[in-house]
Symmetry: C2
Subunit: 298 residues, 2 copies
């Protein structure tokens, strides 16, 4: 079944100890779409400015992503820049320019509206609510961030009460629930609405709280982490793509979807932006899925 | 086969947001022995002062631990005190009093000397070398800490060149090798001697680098972490105990030993000191081993 994603499309400038990537393709919805397109038909809903390079459009189209919901607005594309240190688990945001994203109100074309699966990327909860008003999806997953947890708590609570699944970082669990313990944090999140909670821990892997219990995986270990920007969004794309392709929300599929998300995200870390992600295909993911199984089997 | 451990026996005072444990039984060799005794005959080599409570001796004896190598020296027992915060991954050491431990030189009785398996707990590398001179073990694992990495690097290098396995925290990998990436860090450690490297990541699980590849596990998730003191030593005890019981160092056994270490360590976290660890038996561990399998299966 097809899958709609609403979120940011950006031009990212990233500095790491290993180099610098100037105004590369970025944005949560970009990474999500490129990952999920390995599994199913993706409808991308977002906005870019008139300066958005045509080669990025060509890449998304070449990957089979439906761009009917991609708006081009007068002005400049959303820009983000950040710096990673030797410990790639920590980054500093150097600059954020919302540009055309500041006035963005998602409008879902018919195909995006009627998709059975929907991912609400990390945008203002009021916009996420606007999407929910238009969409007819029967399975909705949500991302959010500390900014919204702290500044738009009421809107976020409304969105949370209407979604099936929250995909969130461990530090955000603490901000959202006040709980340091992830199990108690997941309980608290479920009390707010989502019956499925995925807690991402970066290089430390991921926890899935599903209706029958708990599933835990390490991250796929990498010898070279070049740029982790977008890894969490890639995870969400692989996770949701796998679920949408199988059209199944059973715990068994959810667990395998977590592994698909994890291994797909590992490719993203291996180059700047989506440079590696954009060059892989499903056999690469399946190969790493098998390697992942060998990694954790005992 | 039997297993010798040389290391600290202490009286620990631990403060957490949930309470305070005054001069409780502690020390790396204590946690290690209590864990490993669920698997095999343990020979404990260490020192206590004249003030060491008889009930602690009784507990160790009741668990079947051989105390022929436990010396009682004039003076006070080694004391450590620390404080944990709401995020139990971080602690402050408030006080360390070496007391009888300051003049300790391990003397291995015959049974301890001839044991096939040996664990060198986290003590001065010069003392670890003294143990190696006496021992006839054919499989030796080592623990160390940042203090020795920074202050006794030459002695530590000598010990490392003579052991089969290093069990180490992720932060210590960085201190020892200068590598932030754990895979590169493990490569660097192997170049120093140990052919097997176990990297402990606390609540984020553990990585095992064995001769055939890499094995990764999450930690067993706990709803209530009361006091993680000794969890790493408990892990080492479960890991080495499992290997010694099976008398097998194959990758398959090493992987299962990591899981045994992980689940045994999870009990330690559930109460102050070894209060929970001391009350479990092998069926409790095996039950949690099965739960662990369900946790990670996909």
């Amino acid at each position: 079944m097809s899958l709609t994603v609403v979120g940011s499309i950006a031009l990212d400038t990233v500095e790491t100890p290993w180099g610098r990537n100037e105004e590369g393709l970025g944005g949560a919805a970009t990474f999500f779409s490129l990952a999920a397109a390995n599994y199913t038909q993706v409808h991308l809903v977002g906005v870019v400015g008139e300066d958005f390079p045509v080669e990025h459009i060509a890449l998304l189209r070449e990957k089979g992503i439906d761009l009917a919901g991609l708006e081009t607005a007068p002005g400049r594309t959303f820009r983000w820049s950040g710096r990673y240190h030797r410990d790639v688990n920590h980054r500093d945001t150097l600059d954020t320019q919302l540009n055309v994203f500041a006035a963005f109100h998602p409008k879902l074309p018919k195909e995006a509206r009627t998709a059975k699966y929907l991912f609400l990327g990390n945008i203002h909860p009021a916009l996420q609510l606007e999407v929910l008003e238009q969409a007819q999806a029967s399975f909705v997953a949500l991302d959010t961030m500390n900014l919204w947890i702290h500044t738009t708590r009421d809107d976020l609570a409304k969105v949370l009460s209407r979604v099936d699944c929250l995909i969130i970082n461990d530090s955000e669990v603490r901000d959202l629930t006040g709980e340091n313990n992830v199990i108690r944090g997941a309980d608290a999140i479920r009390a707010l609405g989502p019956r499925i909670v995925v807690i991402k821990k970066g290089e430390h892997g991921c926890l899935l709280f599903h209706e029958d219990g708990l599933f835990a995986v390490p991250a796929f270990p990498l010898r070279d982490v070049i740029d982790p920007t977008g890894a969490g969004d890639t995870f969400a794309g692989g996770f949701m793509g796998c679920i949408a392709q199988r059209d199944d929300m059973s715990p068994a599929t959810l667990c395998q979807a977590v592994v698909h998300g994890s291994v797909t995200a590992s490719f993203t870390c291996e180059a700047f932006g989506p440079n590696r992600l954009a060059r892989i295909a499903r056999p690469d993911i399946d190969g790493r899925f098998d390697a992942f199984r060998r990694l954790v089997e005992f």
